[in-house]
């Protein structure tokens, strides 16, 4: 049939650059406002990853400047290790090119798409090439290139290349021009603030037209760079195993030990026997029918989880707390880094933190900060597995109200670090629902919830003790008064109650018939050194016990009496006056001190 031939003529390969040019919304470039944030985010991800690898404290400059019309120039400059000139074109101007895709370890960028997509987006909207400057060390010069992507082939094209002098001894600078709007400013600053929280070792300087902002570092330790590890047997799919065995001529047992994480002599032997395969068979001779039982064996035999500490770089509890303290004012902060775990063979670690009180708004939903591999997630909160894991915790158990999400002055931070973060789409806005990850988030939040509950209980208990003191020292005397009136007898003396119950030092001030009476009872079992401060308009010139010290200031008299009050004894003074003002005592531990102003 002639038609099939005809159709065949039109069939050809499509470059991945063409594909994403046509589908740029899949990468987070769906609107000009969003495009600017995605661009800066991709550049910063690369900078932070590079600095981590080089063990350098990141110092990153971000600059956004309107050039006129709707064209903006975005600059991101870092002090990372730089990129050698041979690789610069492919790194910045070829999609699906990078160093991290095949490595089993935690990195921010993974697919080798992000920054090249920004270059693609820039050249698509303004036609302008991207300018890149990079220097790999003080001994070499910097290289300056202008680059575009040849869309049809997804290959870089170098428009100019020169060696230049540069102020930084090493680092990379990228300048892109594209169409956008500055409606994104608030979101951009939010993004930088959150990035700074989970990268407390980095400093960001930001210039937006003529404004500048700094997000400073609180830690001078570069986090250890995650080391790539071998894949874990639990995460392998049949097709991948087939590929691996076909490419190796090792005997099965050695193959297992060499190729996979956490498989030693004993485990390898066990796999062979469960799969009923000869441990010595060369793996490239194993047929598909036998691969199936082999895979089953690899995934049923008990094998320890991969050592997360190598391939992952959690922020650590300490630094999360520091990062949060830096950007938020809180009454309570607690962070939790969970042990490493694994889903589909990918190592991951969940970290979470809860902040409470401080300047957080006391009404409405909790503030939720989501992070994946130290990158904040700003969009699609509702579609994210982190959000649903938070909503599925029973917060009421921890004394926090809840309507779907927890409510009140709470900040919840969740960081998922993984060798392969399961995003719902390549725009990397939301973590897909993976039961293992959700379970870890839940566990982290439950542990933190218990801590929060302790904090809230302790706060409540302090309130309770104060409450008890108030009841005994302020209300019971009034009851005594009234009851005396009812039964037509003088009011009973309540000091006995105070003493028995309180075991504290009680200061009471009250007025009656133009006389001020102050009394301190030491109901504790120890002697107490007390300084009584009485500040009011009364001079206390006729005090029954003259003050040890008096000062006057604008009609206010500060009277001080200092006494050592033995256990069970009391001190009393009275003078003529109108009362009011402030009364307090020093020298007594806060939890032993009760001050009652009977006139209030």
């Amino acid at each position: 049939m002639v038609l099939a031939d005809e159709l065949a003529k039109k069939q050809r390969s499509i470059s991945v650059a063409e594909f994403f040019e046509k589908n740029k919304h899949m990468l987070g470039f769906d609107s000009p406002t969003r495009g600017i944030i995605t661009t800066i985010k991709e550049a910063i991800d690369n900078s932070l990853d590079a600095c981590e690898e080089a063990e350098v404290l990141p110092d990153i400059l971000v600059s956004v400047r309107k050039l006129g019309g709707d064209v903006f120039r975005v600059v991101v400059e870092d002090n990372g290790p730089g990129i050698i000139p041979e690789k610069m074109p492919a790194v910045f101007a070829k999609l699906l090119y990078g160093s991290r895709f095949h490595q089993v370890r935690q990195t921010r960028g993974q697919q080798g798409i992000g920054i090249s997509a920004a270059v693609l987006y820039a050249q698509l909207t303004t036609g302008k090439p991207t300018l890149v400057i990079s220097r790999t060390g003080a001994k070499t010069k910097a290289h300056r290139m202008t680059l575009v992507i040849k869309t049809e082939t997804n290959e870089p094209e170098v428009l100019s290349h020169e060696e230049i002098d540069w102020v930084l001894p090493h680092g990379t600078r990228i300048e892109l021009e594209f169409k956008s709007t500055m409606q994104a400013k608030k979101k951009l600053l939010e993004y930088l603030k959150y990035t700074s929280v989970v990268n407390p070792h980095a400093r960001f300087r930001v210039e937006i037209d003529d404004e500048s902002f700094t997000f400073d570092r609180v830690s001078n330790d570069v986090p250890p760079c995650p080391v790539a590890i071998k894949p874990h047997p639990y995460g392998i799919e049949l097709g991948v195993l087939k590929r691996m065995t076909a490419a190796s001529d090792l005997p099965l047992k050695e193959f297992l030990i060499e190729t996979f994480s956490k498989v030693g002599e004993k485990t390898a032997q066990e796999i062979c026997s469960v799969a009923k395969l000869d441990a010595k068979v060369r793996v490239n001779t194993i047929q598909l029918e036998q691969l199936n039982p082999l895979l089953d064996a690899m995934q049923t035999v008990k094998i320890p989880a991969p050592t997360a500490s190598q391939c992952l770089s959690p922020i650590t509890e300490d630094l999360i707390v520091k990062g949060m303290e830096k950007e938020f004012q809180l009454d309570f902060i607690k962070a939790r880094t969970r042990p490493g775990n694994v889903f589909g063979g990918n190592s991951f670690i969940v970290e979470a933190a809860i902040g409470y009180g401080g300047k957080l708004p006391s009404e409405g939903n909790a503030l939720i900060l989501r992070f994946a591999n130290r990158v904040p997630l700003l969009y699609q909160q509702g579609a994210c597995a982190i959000t649903s894991a938070i909503a599925n915790v029973n917060w009421k158990n921890y004394g926090v109200s809840q309507q779907g999400l927890p409510m009140g002055p709470i900040l919840i931070l969740v960081h998922v670090a993984a060798t392969n973060v399961p995003f719902t789409s390549e725009s990397k806005d939301a973590v897909a629902s993976v039961p293992e990850v959700e379970r870890e988030i839940t566990l982290a939040l439950q542990e933190l919830g218990r801590d929060l509950k302790l904090f809230l209980n302790r706060r409540d208990k302090n309130k309770l003790q104060d409450d008890r003191a108030r009841a005994i020292c302020a209300v019971i005397p009034l009851i005594a008064q009234k009851v005396g009136e009812i039964v037509e007898l003088p009011p009973p003396d309540t000091s006995l109650i105070e003493g028995r119950i309180m075991r504290r030092v009680v200061l009471k001030k009250g007025s009656a018939d133009g006389r001020i009476r102050i009394r301190i009872d030491n109901y504790t079992t120890k002697d107490q050194q007390v300084s009584l401060y009485d500040i009011s308009g009364d001079s206390a010139a006729d005090a029954t016990v003259p003050p040890d010290f008096v000062t006057e200031m604008e009609g206010e008299y500060t009277k001080v009496w200092k006494r050592t009050l033995p256990a069970g004894e009391s001190f009393e003074v009275s003078y003529t006056g109108t009362g009011g003002g402030i009364v307090d005592m020093q020298g007594i531990a806060e939890n032993l001190k009760v001050v009652v102003d009977l006139d209030v």
């Binding site: 309770l464 409450d467 008890r468 108030r470 009841a471 005994i472 209300v475 019971i476 009034l478 009851i479 005594a480 009234k482 009851v483 005396g484 009136e485 009812i486 039964v487 007898l489 009973p492 003396d493 309540t494 006995l496 109650i497 003493g499 028995r500 119950i501």
Partner: protein, 365 residues
């Protein structure tokens, strides 16, 4: 204690006893405290002696060791002092007035009206006296009575003797808010019919049912007030007149009956003053809806929930109620008492009530 002076003196003494206990506690170095029965549905019991539902043995103790409880006791002390003053000066006031008077009580000031209400109920429980003895007047007065009954009311304008058929208009004699001031003089009634709706009250009057059968008609006006329940209790107890209750046929009306016959949970401590255990329910019963084919509405979800709650209420534990409530849930219907009008305006007085009253033995024909 029908002599007011004597009554006031006894009341004052009871209140002072409470205060004296606190006084002694404090004088001995103890935090003052007070013990009360738990006031929930799960702590009411049938008392064989008085034949009413009253609070059981579950108790809770409140002591002034927390600010909240201490303030509560301070308020109670103020209220006791206030009542003592009322008794001394022979004044009275409403709960609402006391609430406003507490404006001047500093820390003991009430912050909501139901706070003062609850506190007076506590005092009733502790003293085992009705609030009327404290000269605390309810807001609402009682129901209307029409029938062959003579009362003598001790009013502020002197003693008034009133016959509830001959000396009143068609709206009948209005029960005053303090029934203790009413003396029941004489009667020649066969029974008291307590009616939920004004329409039925007028119907029985118009049809001369009170004259024909010598019945006392009492218009409950919805959920009966304390005065109404006390009056029913006294007519039943002092004059030995049987009491029957005739309401709509829905769960809310059964609760009206229950509060007449068994007392309410909220006022279980007052049951022996307020409940008339021998009061009989004569309709509208679910089986009447079926047997008389009465016009009916569908039960709402709230109705169904209320019926189910009644099934678990000990006061509705009898076979009669179990059968009727289950029948109603099965039919899914409710009817009003005036629905008998669908059989004609005279049906209720010529057929239904005579039959019902004979059946329960109140009328002997």
């Amino acid at each position: 204690m029908s002599d007011p002076k004597e009554r006031d003196l006894a009341t004052k003494q009871r209140l002072m006893e409470i205060a004296k206990v606190w006084y002694d506690q404090m004088d001995g170095g103890d935090v003052p405290s007070i013990t009360l029965p738990t006031r929930t549905k799960y702590n009411i019991e049938y008392d064989d002696a008085s034949e009413v539902w009253t609070y059981g043995s579950k108790e809770s103790t409140r002591n002034a060791g927390t600010a909240k409880s201490a303030i509560h006791m301070l308020k109670m002390a103020y209220v006791i002092a206030f009542i003592k003053m009322q008794l001394a000066e022979n004044r009275s006031s409403t709960l609402r007035e006391m609430y406003y008077i507490s404006e001047g009580w500093k820390q003991a000031k009430f912050h909501a009206q139901n706070e003062s209400n609850y506190l007076v109920e506590d005092l009733e429980i502790i003293t085992n006296l009705q609030r009327e003895y404290f000269h605390m007047r309810p807001e609402e007065d009682g129901a209307s009575i029409f029938g062959p009954l003579r009362v003598r009311e001790n009013t502020r304008r002197g003693m008034k003797e009133i016959h509830c058929q001959d000396d009143v208009g068609e709206a009948g004699y209005n029960i005053p808010n303090n029934v203790e001031n009413v003396e029941l003089v004489d009667h020649n009634a066969t029974c008291v019919i307590a009616l939920e709706t004004g329409g039925m009250f007028s119907r029985l009057q118009e049809n001369g049912f009170d004259e024909e059968y010598n019945t006392i008609l009492l218009h409950l006006k919805g959920q009966p007030t304390r005065a109404t329940r006390r009056m029913l209790k006294r007519m039943n107890e002092e004059l030995k007149i049987p009491v029957v209750v005739f309401t709509d046929g829905d769960p809310w009306s059964y609760r009206i009956y229950a509060s007449v016959a068994y007392g309410s949970i909220k006022a279980a401590h007052m049951s022996e003053f307020l409940a008339t255990p021998s009061a009989q329910f004569i309709g509208v019963k679910p089986s009447d809806i079926r047997d008389y084919n009465l016009p009916a509405d569908k039960l709402t979800e709230q109705d169904v929930n209320a019926l189910k709650a009644e099934l678990s209420d000990p006061r509705f534990g009898s076979d009669f109620w179990k059968k009727e409530i289950n029948l109603q849930l099965e039919m899914g219907l409710k009817s009003e008492q005036q629905a008998f009008a669908s059989h004609g305006l005279d049906f209720v007085t010529k057929e239904y009530l005579p039959a019902m009253l004979s059946e329960i033995g109140v009328l002997k024909r």
